[in-house]
């Protein structure tokens, strides 16, 4: 799977599609974002040839930082072979000709939607998140003019009240993904819709984390080794999801699992969401209990 077809580069466009002036503008926004961790920087987001909501912010960030020597990995839902990941990877192959990979440790840039890889990211790597709604306070206050003030004054009481009300009503915090974090002790930040399972990976991550929201025209960042704390209370500490199952393919008991409905009786199987992690474990000889009898045949025998 790692042997990708050799890229056919479209030289009718600038390297990585964006013109150099636009890249400079975006790099300036990125630098500012790195200097003020967690703070959203407005930028002149361009209309991209991919649709808003499909990752135009992440694509613009990647296009602005990618160079000819880079190796790019693109994932969606943790997987390299989901349609949108395939499409974005194809876009960059066509527009840059850079090498692509599915192996997390081989990538210099990882563009992601909704997951952080299970393999720990290292110094020198960059992870680019696609962000639909950058404003962590948006569901509490729809007005940009108001949320700007709230950030300016670090007035985040409303979010704590929301989490407290969850506990009163449900006995627990019901936010499962896009769980709010405090960055460097100053700015409240949306981690993008990653499951809260991934939140702890952001804290003091050795890699540079960049966030791009194209439609909302904001960029933000977390520099390497920066504190990223999920909001919680002393008597209700932050917790991540746990499964009673292990991956049916690789037997992993500590990765994020996707639930697959395997027949029309509502039976389930659980498999790793991170396809590269799962594949590498199986290559090392790890095995799960396997997919249910007859499942692969029903899938048309695809292997």
């Amino acid at each position: 799977m790692n042997a990708m077809t050799p890229p056919v580069v479209d030289d009718g466009y600038s390297f990585a599609f964006l013109d150099e002036q636009t890249k400079r503008m975006i790099r300036r926004a990125i630098l500012k974002a790195v200097a003020i961790p967690g703070h959203q920087i407005p930028f002149g987001s361009r209309e991209m040839p991919l649709s808003y909501g499909w990752g135009t912010g992440g694509i613009q960030v990647t296009a602005s930082v990618i160079g000819r020597g880079d190796t790019l990995k693109v994932i969606d839902q943790g997987a390299d072979d989901t349609t949108n990941a395939v499409s974005i990877r194809g876009f960059f192959r066509r527009m840059t000709g850079v090498a692509t990979t599915e192996r997390t440790e081989d990538a210099t840039i990882v563009q992601t939607r909704h997951r952080i890889p299970e393999t720990r990211l290292a110094e020198g790597q960059v992870i680019v998140y696609q962000v639909p709604i950058p404003e962590p306070l948006r569901w509490l206050e729809p007005r940009e003019t108001e949320t700007c003030k709230m950030h300016g004054l670090a007035e985040y009481g409303a979010m704590h009240v929301k989490l407290y009300e969850d506990i009163v009503r449900y006995g627990r915090i019901e936010t499962a993904y896009d769980y709010p974090v405090m960055v460097n002790g100053r700015y409240l930040m949306r981690p993008s819709p990653i499951p809260k399972f991934d939140n702890p990976k952001m804290d003091y991550m050795p890699a540079l984390q960049l966030f791009g929201a194209g439609r909302e025209k904001r960029i933000y960042a977390v520099p390497p080794y920066t504190s990223v704390k999920s909001l919680d209370f002393e008597d209700h500490p932050f917790e991540i999801e746990r499964w009673e199952h292990q991956c049916a393919l690789c037997g992993s008991g500590d990765s994020f699992l996707d639930e697959i409905v395997v027949d029309d009786q509502g039976n389930h199987a659980f498999v790793c969401s991170d396809t590269d992690y799962c594949g590498q474990r199986r290559a090392e000889g790890h095995e799960g209990t396997g997919m249910p009898e007859g499942y692969l045949q029903r899938q048309g025998g695809r292997e």
């Binding site: 349609t83 449900y170 969401s273 997919m291």
Partner: protein, 367 residues
């Protein structure tokens, strides 16, 4: 390797091939040419140019052909192309009072200097399907007036101006250069120049509905159609090395000047106010909807209470763009199963906890 609900490169390529085949339709029917779309589906081309923010009838017609007639998709194609174009500078402001008019009507005076000119309008057509068109009927030639219209027709609003009955709109000499919405993000408070840019490329349906809502009482602003004109205007560009403006060519444009009431204040005598709308080509519905919304968004500036959606600047400007809106609505089609899995684990845990609480309560009651 496990591949359910995941698609590979081949699936995408095959889907695109199928799409191209669907676009072509029945191969026994002759293929549409771009020129046919440009000439015979002109109002569709005009809307794509307006909301695509690019005046190029050939490219807009090509976009419509590629998009199988889907307007928003065609607008998206044109916008994405526009992004890649080099900017040489900005043109001199259009002088629409020097428009070569093909249509000009005013609803506020029975007659106006230069007269009412109906031009090519649907307004008084009886909406009866014309079956001769199904048989490719060629229309008879339209009669031509013996005396042609004056080269230019003065604006109706100028008549009101003489008595100072309407606010004047002259940019102060120290006015800042208008921002470019396609190069910098929307910021608040948004100046009117920014708002008008947003509305000009905003979705026609959205502006039509919002404008309509003001007429039904949600932010009513007593509108009269002061003047609607459609025709050709000259685009001029001042190249720095020349020091004077050169004509680049003519474009077709629609303009709507809405006249609205304003009660005045203790210091200001009552005066009519304005709402402004425009579109490339012939787009009166868009221009009128835009003018109503432009006026509604001036509520705060004119000391009116802001109570309705059409007056709410953030609400209107953040939701007017159909390329943004179509993307975010339709992105729900992308896989979300990681987030859904997180929700599943939470809701199952909550239901388990609720069941335990109920059981405990029942057991207690039984004792």
């Amino acid at each position: 390797m496990y591949v359910a609900v995941k698609g590979g490169e081949r699936a995408i390529a095959n889907a695109h091939a199928w799409l191209a085949e669907e676009r072509r339709g029945d191969a026994a029917v002759p293929e549409l040419t771009v020129a046919q779309i440009r000439e015979q589906q002109r109002l569709a081309v005009d809307r794509v140019m307006t909301e695509g923010s690019l005046y190029d009838p050939d490219l807009a017609a090509l976009a419509l052909k590629q998009a199988r007639g889907d307007q928003v998709e065609a607008i998206f194609l044109l916008r994405a192309y526009r992004t890649t174009l080099t900017r040489f500078g900005a043109t001199v402001p259009l002088e629409t009072s020097r428009m070569t008019v093909r249509r000009r009507v005013s609803a506020i005076f029975k007659d106006v200097p230069g007269g009412q000119v109906l031009g090519p309008t649907f307004d008084y057509t009886h909406r009866l399907l014309d079956f001769t068109l199904a048989a490719n009927g060629e229309p008879p030639a339209a009669p031509v007036a013996e005396t042609p219209l004056a080269d230019t027709l003065p604006g109706v609003i100028d008549v009101l101006n003489r008595e100072s009955l309407i606010e004047t709109e002259v940019a102060p000499s120290d006015a800042p250069t208008p921002p470019d919405l396609t190069r910098e993000p929307l910021r608040f408070p948004a100046p009117r120049a920014m708002r008008l840019q947003n509305l000009a490329r905003g979705d026609e349906g959205f502006l039509l509905a919002l404008g309509y809502s003001t007429q039904r009482g949600y932010g009513r602003n007593h509108p009269f159609a002061g003047e609607i004109r459609f025709g050709e205007v000259t685009v001029e560009f001042e190249a720095p090395e020349l020091g004077f403006a050169v004509e680049l060519g003519d474009i077709e444009l629609t303009e709507c000047q809405m006249v609205n009431q304003f009660a005045g204040s203790k210091t200001e005598p009552p005066q009519f106010t304005r709402g402004y709308g425009t579109s490339f080509g012939h787009g009166e519905r868009k221009a009128m909807g835009m003018a109503l919304v432009d006026r509604a968004l001036r509520a705060a500036e004119l000391g009116e209470e802001v109570t309705s959606p059409a007056q709410d600047t953030e609400f209107v400007l953040y939701h007017s763009d159909n390329v943004e809106a179509q993307g975010f609505v339709q992105h729900l089609k992308l896989p979300h199963y990681v987030d859904f899995q997180s929700e599943l684990t939470v809701i199952r845990a909550m239901r388990r906890a609720a069941a335990q609480t109920k059981e405990a309560a029942l057991a207690e009651a039984a004792e």
